[in-house]
Amino acid sequence: MRPVGRVLVANRGEIALRIIRACHEEGLEAVAVYSSVDRGAQHVAQADAAVAIGGAPAAESYLVIDRLIAAARSSGAELIHPGYGFLAERAEFADAVAAAGLGYVGPPASAIRAMGNKTEARRWMAEAGVPVVPGSDGPVHDPAEAQRVAQRIGYPVMVKAVAGGGGKGMRVVAGPEELAGALQAAASEAEKAFGDSSVYLEKFIERPRHVEIQILADEHRTIHLGERECSVQRRHQKLVEEAPSVAVSPELRAAMGKAAVAGALAVGYRGAGTCEFLLAADGSFYFLEMNTRIQVEHTVTEMVYGVDLVREQLRIARGQPMSVPSGPLAPHGWSIECRITSEDPSNEMLPSTGTVRYLRTPGGPGVRWDGAIQVGDEITLYYDSLLGKLIVWAPDREAALGRMRRALDELIVVGVATNQGFYRRLFQDEAFCRGDIDIQFLDRRQDLLAGVHDESLIVTVAVAAALAEDQARRSRAPTVGADGWRARKAWLQAARHEALR
C-alpha cells in the first residue's frame, strides 16, 4: 500500500525518531528537520525526507515557526507533529500550522492556551471540580505582593513561571528572606526559556508524590489510561517513571482519572495529554498542570496498557477514531523508565559533552531502548541532555526492578559521562525498591547522586589497570621517551633534594 500522506516531525533526538517510527507503522511518510549540527543524526537518516532549518542554537532552528511551516510546505507534508519541548506547547505554533492549511498533531490552540497559562489552567480545573493547590491565583508583580501572598498561604511556597514547564523557572522558598532572590532567579530563567518572565506562587506541599494521568481524546471519546508515578526527580526534572504507582489503588485511579477527564473535557481537549497531580500521603490529590503534548515518559503507559500513544495521536489528527477499545481498562504488569542523560555524577550531575565513541544498548525480553544517539554523535550543549530512555516491562514491580538492574548492567556508553551509575545505585536502594518515594526523595538522598565506586570492583579495576600498564610498557620501545626523561629529571631533583639536607 502506498503511503497516503506525509508528516513533518518538528523535533530532534529520541522523540523525533519515535514519531518517525510511528509514522512508518501507520503507513505515513515522515519528514525530518535538522539544525546544522544534526545533519548526521539518526532521525534525519530514518526519515523519508529531511529539511535543513538553520543553526545549532534552537532559537535559530527548532524554535523558528516560519522555517518549520516552510519545511512542511516544501516537502509536501500535511501534518506537523511537535513532539515535546521546543514548540510543543506554544499556541502560536498550532495557530500558524492551522493558518498554513496544515494539520497539527495535538490539541486545538485554544486548549494549549488554556493549559499553557498556569494560572488560567488552575481556574479551568477548579471550575471543572478538580482540586488545586492554594496559590496566588495569578502572576505576582512585585516582591511586596509576593510577600503578602506567601504570608497568606504559608511557607514553604513555590515560585513558578507562568509559562513554565520542565523545571525551568521554578524555586522553592523556605522563608521570607529567600523570597526576593528566588523571584528574580525564577523570572530570569523564565524569560530566557519561554520569553515570558511572569511568575506565580503556590503552597509547597511537603513530601507529596508526583502522579500523572494519561489522557486520550478523539471526536467521540475522552478516556484516561491510568497513572504514571514520577516522584524520583532532581531539580524538578523527572529521572524515573513507572506505571502503575504503588500508591494508587483502583479506586484512587478511577477518581484521579475522572478528574483528569473532566479537566480535558472542560478545555475541549483532543489527542494525547497529561494531567499532573501532587498526591499527598492521605490520598488527597491536587492538580499541578496539564501537558498538552506527548510526554517523555509516555512509554511506560504504552507498556502496561498495550497502546501506542504516538500512533493514536496520528490517527486522531487525521480524524480517525482512536483504536483503544471502549469499556473498562486496567494496567497489565509493571513498567519502569530511566532517563539516561549526559549528566556526570562525579561532577555534581552537571552536563557532560563529548563524542559518542561506543554504544551498547540493553536488549532481551521486556527491554525497550528509545534513543537516537549513535557512535560518532557529538553531544553538545545546545539541546537537552537526554541520550535515551531505558524502559522495562515485567509482570510485577519486583520483576521489573530486577529486569532494570539487569538492563542497566548491559548498557555501555563511551565518550560522554552518563547517570548510569546513579541508576545502578538507586535500583539497589531499599526505600526506592519498597516504593517509599516522594518528590523530595532525591533531595534527601544526595548520596545516590554522588559518583561512588562499587567497592567490590576495586580489585578487578586494579588488575585491569596493572595489566594495561604492563602491556603498554612491554610494547613501548626501550628508548628514552618523555616518561623516561621526566623520571630522570625527577631522580636528579630527588638527588639534589637529598644533597641539600
Partner: protein, 174 residues
C-alpha cells in the same frame, strides 16, 4: 613486574607475571586484550570475562594514569612501578590536593550573571557565578569563606570546562 596501583586514595600492590597476577598477596589468573574496533578491553579474571571501557587518562602527562569505566562509573587509576613510586615519595610530586584559590567552570557554558565583585568577602555556599548549560541555570557557589581577588569573566561570555571564573584570596577580609 611489581606495580603500586592507587584508586581512591587506596594503594594496592599488584604483581604481574604473565597471566598470574598477585593483588595484595592473593593470586588470580587474568588476561587483558583489546576488543577490536572499540574503546573496550576484554578482561578475563578467574574465568570471568568482562568488556570494560578503558583508556589512558587524556591528561595523564605520560605514564601510569588510566581511566577504567565499568558499569557507567569512571575510575581514575594510577599505576606506578617501584622506582616511580619512590620518586613520588621523595619529591612529593603528584600530591595535588592543596586547595586551589579559584572558581573554575565545572562544565562548558554561558555566563549568565556574576554575583560578586573584586574585594567582596564571601561565605561558604554563597552564590558566585551563574552558568547556563543545556538550558538550565546552574549557580556555582563558594566552597569556603574567602575574599574575591579578581573576576575573570563577564555576563554573556562563553567559557570552557576548567576555565577560571573567579580568583579568591585566602579567608575573609584577607
Amino acid at each position: 613486574m611489581k606495580y603500586f596501583v592507587t584508586i581512591d586514595d587506596r594503594e594496592l600492590e599488584v604483581t604481574v607475571e604473565g597471566d598470574r597476577v598477585t593483588v595484595d598477596g592473593t593470586v588470580v589468573r587474568a588476561e587483558l586484550t583489546a576488543v577490536p574496533g572499540t574503546p573496550l578491553k576484554q578482561l578475563t579474571i578467574d574465568g570471568k570475562t568482562l568488556h570494560w571501557p578503558m583508556e589512558r587518562a587524556p591528561d595523564g602527562g605520560g605514564g601510569g594514569r588510566w581511566v577504567v569505566a565499568p558499569l557507567g562509573e569512571s575510575w581514575d587509576v594510577e599505576v606506578l612501578d617501584e622506582r616511580a613510586r619512590h620518586i613520588r615519595r621523595l619529591t612529593g610530586s603528584g600530591q595535588r590536593k592543596s586547595g586551589e584559590n579559584v572558581l573554575k567552570a565545572p562544565m562548558p557554558g554561558l555566563v549568565v550573571r556574576v554575583e560578586v565583585e573584586p574585594g567582596q568577602a564571601v561565605v561558604a555556599g554563597q552564590g558566585i557565578v551563574v552558568l547556563e548549560a543545556m538550558k538550565m541555570e546552574n549557580e556555582l557557589r563558594a566552597s569556603a569563606a574567602a575574599t574575591v581577588a579578581a573576576v575573570r569573566v563577564v555576563p554573556g561570555a562563553t567559557v570552557e570546562k576548567g576555565e577560571v571564573l573567579v580568583e579568591y584570596s585566602l579567608g575573609p577580609g584577607a
